[in-house]
């Protein structure tokens, strides 16, 4: 990436306003972590199941880190975009995280049978499901995925998951799965800068 392009991309990331249901933690936290992931990617599932719970408990809930989720469905994953669309529709009833948890938990099942809807239906109540299904059928519904993908591409993303840690307008990308025991000292070190 050319330096000037990288500069704009990083500025876009730093200045991007997170939508409320896709961000978690103190908006004024000193460290921001943007997570770009794909619901059908195994390494994203590992990050979601193994790393993020500790990150949320230790850093996000204590106000040190603002966590922002971004969808980056890869073209080779046939159901990833649909899953991301369901999750983003669910964010309109403030259930993005609940649906995300369920999608990652049941990844192997819906990856095989393509039935993402049943997973979502298992999380939402009937009224929420009705709203979300209406959004899914609405061609005008902006699921925000294109914006997330564009943001990721501008930041030079080459793989999922990717975490971009931002502190004092400096960004530090971590591509691929990373366990919390590696991420934690990295955050501590970055936060000292």
């Amino acid at each position: 990436m050319k330096p000037i392009t990288a500069l704009f991309a990083l500025a876009a990331l730093v200045l991007a306003e997170p939508t409320s249901d896709k961000s978690l933690g103190n908006p004024n936290a000193p460290v921001k972590i943007d997570v770009f992931s794909d619901f059908q990617c195994p390494a994203c599932k590992a990050l979601h199941d193994q790393t993020l719970p500790d990150l949320i408990n230790d850093e996000v809930n204590k106000g040190r880190v603002l966590l922002v989720y971004h969808d980056f469905p890869l073209p080779q994953h046939s159901h990833a975009r649909e899953a991301a669309r369901w999750a983003n529709a669910a964010s309109r009833v403030h259930k993005y995280r609940e649906v995300s948890d369920a999608l990652f938990r049941t990844q192997l099942a819906w990856e095989a049978n393509g039935d993402v809807r049943s997973v979502v239906a298992g999380v939402l109540n009937p009224a929420e499901m009705k709203t979300v299904e209406a959004l899914m059928k609405d061609p005008k519904f902006d699921d925000g995925i294109a914006k997330d993908v564009a943001l990721g591409q501008q930041a030079g993303l080459r793989q999922t998951p990717t975490l971009i840690v931002t502190h004092k307008l400096q960004t530090y990308p971590f591509g691929g799965f990373i366990s919390y025991s590696i991420l934690k000292p990295a955050i501590d070190d970055i936060a000292k800068k």
């Binding site: 390494a43 793989q159 591509g175 691929g176 799965f177 990373i178 590696i182 000292p185 990295a186």
Partner: protein, 136 residues
């Protein structure tokens, strides 16, 4: 053959020195994140490897260029490079699409990285084989 051995050990030694320099130049967790993304080792082993391997590569590069105990240094180098190749091949075959971490972040595991590492394994084996003591 002497010239080939000299050239081979300088090339391989320089590769190890460059790899060590890039890793030691960045905070240890950058290399740790690269190792971690292979999802092969427990976190304690990732930390241990991230903190020690660059120093080992540095020593290996220096003794390789110096030609000290060349046969055994070449053997150790070959085994390490083979371990890297197997790890990269596994990641490539599983479609992990991760950084190889060979010379810092930013280079994805690909046919090219596999070919390059394979060539270095071959070079290490060449040094091991042709630096053996000659029979009387």
């Amino acid at each position: 053959m002497k010239i080939a051995l000299l050239a081979g050990r300088i090339i391989l030694g320089a590769v190890f020195l460059y790899a060590a320099y890039v890793k030691l130049h960045a905070p240890w967790y950058i290399f740790a994140a690269s190792i971690d993304s292979y999802q092969m080792l427990p976190p304690w082993a990732v930390q241990l490897l991230a903190r020690t391997l660059p120093w080992f590569e540095l020593v290996l590069g220096l003794v390789m260029i110096a030609g000290y105990k060349l046969r055994w240094v070449a053997l150790v180098s070959g085994l390490i490079l083979l371990a890297f190749w197997v790890s990269m091949f596994r990641a490539f075959a599983k479609g992990l699409g991760i950084d190889c971490g060979c010379f810092g972040p930013g280079e994805q595991v690909s046919n090219l990285t596999l070919l390059r590492d394979g060539a270095l394994v071959a070079l290490a084996l060449f040094l091991f084989w042709f630096s053996r003591p000659k029979l009387a």
